[in-house]
Symmetry: D3
Subunit: 160 residues, 6 copies
């Protein structure tokens, strides 16, 4: 049985991410949702806040854990004895990028396999960046993110 | 732990298919490679021959079995208690077709998830139909199919 | 104000087609849903049956009519004083094919514009051919086609 | 009959934009070309300059007006009683991005439909950013933008 | 300096093909336009007719010749001392198919390189099959094929 | 016979670039690998360093030279009497971007043709940016770049 990693920036976690976790959970013995620490981007939420929102939004399940990692995804997998990387694909652009990443990771760590699952079609068109754009412009993101995230997004991006 | 189905026409099995099986085998408790019985196509090999070639080419592994099925993939999965459908994706065209198929299957059977794995890049450009075309025109397909299949393809498509 | 044509084979009409008609209807003064008479294909339903199913499935609306045409779409538009061709696009493959068709039609008839609308995301992955495949294999197509079409499909493709 | 909005950054307006307006104008009762006020980007021309260039380049037509808007496109449409959003698509990448945007807008405002029209093939490969790049490097953009824009682009990007 | 082969079915030759030949001619010492003899398809014109139409439509140039070949493209190249295969790409679907073909040919004959050139944008949306469809339906194909081909197409596809 | 230009940022040169040069060299009388001087980007290596790494990595061949250029590619080609622009394409996204660029360049300089060659499949998924990311995160890039580049990348991106 295999341990899996679901890496991402989760800035913030969306209903699309949660849907993917729910679909993938039965496939693995343990699933670690891991926030990548990437110093070069300017995120909306800090790594700590993103972890906290993930913890609040994810279902309580002994097979599920939240973590952070720095450096290459495959190095983290090797340290943790993780054999599969989980990724969602929604669009052709997603697919091409994920394909290149998966082949690069396979080259760097031949024993670790990337596994793709498709999110529910009702979340297929929403990305974290589109959601931030909606909230920044005064729109309602409640259909795209869980309530706790929706409130925090409004506080962060629409302060006045 | 999950039982998985790798459905296809396998007319004939290629090194790309074998590579995918090898990659996916550690992810599942049991993996059934299943030839779809589709009366409307004119195949190169009969269903029985395709099963025989799969048996000859696949590694001996207690988790691995070969089967045939008629009708909807999801109906066969439900009958057999299978929770995951395995598919390989290599190209954008593959991806779009598989995406539509996966969403249709999810609608028909919500509890069964389609899981995508990418074949090795060295097999990313070969399909069964391209291989048949090569053999039919006198080319050498030994890099693309296992020896037993290569011999049978030559006999079938280049008889004289 | 503009008259529009929604051409297709409609073999048979799906909920995706109906959704597109509903979305496009407010945009035009009159919308003609027209079955292309194409002698080279082997359809599941005759042209007459397809027209009958369209009539049964489409809402009663004075702006909406059902027709058939033979020959080039643009010639029919010119005969009928129609200034816009309506088409749905769901996937990248759809898009590329429709793009080539639209540019060819524009070249043949510069005054007639092709207009694209996207069907509801819940119908984005279903095509008439996938639906026929489902019914032929004993699956339930009731979510994808209106009741009258579902019954006729079962009679036609699953007679015994 | 429907009022339509053609939103964009128009930095600056190109012959491709003008071609699209000309094609779409007969389809609608009124067409508003609207510059999105987006504080986060560093534009080449100010919003006022972009409006001025649009006014200079667009044909005089009572159905056509130029505007600016802040916030969500769909909120502006609702305020103005606009029922259709016009967008041009030229490439597969355009298509995927526009598809996601259109589905998001439909979710936020179900009664407003996005309508796609294809620009003339001779403008299918030029974008505002490519045009700026050409002028910045001393190239001649006269085939891609109207004369008034060409002069202003040269002044702005090639001052010495 | 390199000899090149431009293989295809040319059923019939279009202005897009001629444009590609004109663009590629300066790049090579000799360019052979070669009709693939493919017994499994039902062509509109015989191989002999297609060769005749190519001869009539191509410019007189000592570097240019017309030929036919049977079997694998790379085998023909090797027999003729040809080092490059010329192909046109217009769309993403073209690209994916040609990519797979080029990688397969490279595997079969490592010393022979496939070279891609893009046809003029005004021919980017026309294919031989679309042209046949236009003529069959009574449309005018004179903008897409040279006069000699246009006449022959009309005789063949619109006999009455 | 034709002189060709292979323009790029080469920040730094990869095995994919070297593979493309090796494949394209027999096709041309002279091949100039040229680093574009682009003041607006923040490169990892200076133009001088990139030229130096190209000189160290490229094979010694009288037909091959390294250069730099400022401004439009087509202006540089005209100054140097170069008739062909060489570009590699690996993915659909590459293809769309290169297609737009090639058509723009053709419009600006009708006599200069862009020629596409595909890199070896084993380098099809690696880009300079992905390689920089690997090295920055402590990964091993030795399979993707020549030894001299690998050492310099480590010094530059992993100083401590």
């Amino acid at each position: 049985m295999v341990f899996a990693l679901y890496p991402g920036s989760f800035d913030p976690v969306t209903k699309g991410h949660l849907d993917l976790v729910e679909r993938a959970l039965p496939l693995f013995e343990r699933l670690t949702v891991a926030v990548a620490i990437n110093s070069s981007k300017a995120p909306t939420f800090t790594v700590e806040e993103r972890v906290e929102l993930l913890r609040a939004a994810l279902p309580a399940d002994p097979r599920l854990e939240v973590a952070t990692f720095r450096g290459l995804v495959v190095d983290y997998c090797r340290q943790q004895g993780i054999g599969a990387i989980l990724r969602g694909v929604r669009t052709v652009s997603d697919f091409e990028y994920e394909y290149q990443l998966a082949l690069t990771n396979r080259h760097l760590a031949p024993g670790i396999e990337t596994v793709f699952v498709m999110p529910s079609v009702q979340y297929s068109y929403v990305s974290s960046s589109l959601i931030r754009e909606i909230v920044r412009n005064g729109g309602d993101a409640a259909s795209f993110v869980p309530p706790v995230v929706e409130r925090r997004l409004r506080e962060r991006l629409r302060p006045s």
